[in-house]
Symmetry: C2
Subunit: 304 residues, 2 copies
């Protein structure tokens, strides 16, 4: 299948490069480092083995790109207002769009922009960064959990997942909603608290007050998921997330990196949307709603 | 009556100076600026009229001070562990101790240290600072609301209040518990949030997210007071506190000043005690409990 990568940052460039390195046809939309990559290729420094793509197919505009079988959207959600102008040139009637984005409620909004389009959702469990042009630094993990959102052609989803498994970047198919809420159990406490308290995951867990708060927030996510009829989340899962985080090296979640680099934060899909969804189902995520209020203050004060 | 001032900072030095200037006998316990004040006297720069005390009675230790009719304790509550060594030389059997301190639960703890002592509580509504030795800068307000906590001699309390009214520093007697909880309606949101978000009162109210949060937190205090059977607090009172704050100049509450000057914060009596009291009465102050957790993290990370 033919792949397009929309948003070739630390996530999109990594997955596109892995697919290309495995022999697939991949077309990259590049922005700031387009000229560099066209001249020098794309370098992946990876814990799983580094490699270099000498002449990847790179573009400045989707208008120059071919229609593709799979369009991987790996933009930050704060840029999703660009999708109506970016995506149409890439879409055929049977194109699969794979959203590798943070938070809850993204698919519903993208579906509203493109009512007929076949959507799938990917949750990336990866630590990677793109700090210099043309180079992805991949530190650990790397798998995408993929769930079907609105594609009627199950076999096409299965084929995409199979190709991604061959390229070493996907797990078996997951339940879309369960996967989103499970990721939120980790995302919602750690992204916002590392920003609000200007710290990292390890410090939050080393302090008894904030460790308790992290657990209480995780249980709010579990409670919301239960209220919404999502399976598979319970206190044991929350405890496992805390245990996993204790075993990680000190980590700055994506929202903390956005804050540190003075980029807009993904408050909408990481906080506002799940909080409203839960509230509509009768469950109040009180502490996370307060964290959202604090983040909106911080966004306005420090990020303009 | 004879007065002792224990804790001659911006609050204690101001009230002591006003009492002395009105002709009362006042004995000041001084710490860092003892020698300066002994040589140069005490200057009060005040919006209500400045004045100078040429030779106030100042001491390095309460052991050198006389027993007094009224002992005004104006220490920060984080120093209350010093009271068992500071107070005894000042106390006669009928001494009134007036605690001018922040928060809820202070009187109960001081009473436990001194079971027989007659306690009254003073809530200072004042903006003052002591930024150079021997000088109090008094910007606005200045009145103390005084309530009786454990003094069986009502007439002595009335006499103290009358003398303080003559000196221009006290209002009519108030209900102790109602006054404490009313002050908490302002104190609990603004002290902690200005620290957690590193800001001032006006910015919190200018941002719609944090203005909503401030109101929600005020309503938690109102709810806690109701659960504890304290009268006089309702939504209209919370709205009035917000309105008053909108009319103030941008303001850093005492906890924010403590944070800025890297002094310990009064988390215990401003947050932990009222939160636990409310919880014991079946009312959960959820957002304020989260703010307490954040403040305890900040205390450990930045103030050691």
């Amino acid at each position: 299948m033919k792949y397009a990568i929309v948003g070739s940052g630390a996530i999109g460039a990594y997955y596109g490069a892995k697919l290309a390195y495995a022999g697939n046809e991949v077309h990259f939309l590049l922005h700031s480092d387009h000229d560099f990559v066209r001249r020098n290729g794309l370098q992946v420094d990876s814990c799983d083995g580094s490699f270099h793509l000498d002449s990847p197919s790179v573009y400045r505009s989707t208008a120059e790109m071919p229609r593709c079988d799979v369009v991987i959207v790996a933009l930050k959600t704060v840029n999703n207002h660009l999708l109506p102008s970016l995506l149409p040139p890439l879409l055929a009637s049977d194109t699969l769009v794979l959203l590798i984005q943070n938070g809850i409620g993204v698919e519903a909004d993208v579906q509203a922009m493109f009512p007929g389009v076949w959507l799938t959702a990917g949750l990336a469990f990866i630590c990677s960064a793109k700090t210099t042009p043309g180079t992805v630094n991949h530190q650990c993990y790397g798998s995408i959990n993929i769930g079907n959102y609105s594609c009627p052609d199950k076999s096409k989803v299965a084929r995409m997942i199979a190709e991604m498994q061959s390229a070493g970047i996907a797990s078996a198919e997951v339940d879309y909603n369960e996967a989103r809420w499970k990721k939120a159990v980790w995302n919602m406490p750690f992204n916002g608290l590392t920003v609000a308290l200007n710290t990292q995951t390890n410090c939050l867990l080393a302090n008894p007050s904030t460790r308790t708060l992290v657990k209480e927030m995780m249980m709010e996510v579990v409670g919301a998921a239960c209220a919404l009829g999502v399976n598979g989340l319970d206190e044991a899962f929350a405890d496992k997330m805390i245990q996993n985080t204790l075993e990680m090296t000190p980590y700055s979640p994506s929202m903390k990196l956005d804050f540190d680099f003075k980029r807009p934060m993904e408050i909408e899909y990481l906080y506002s949307r799940p909080i409203v969804l839960a509230r509509e189902a009768g469950f109040e995520m009180g502490k996370l709603a307060m964290l959202e209020q604090q983040l909106r203050f911080i966004q306005t004060q420090y990020l303009g």
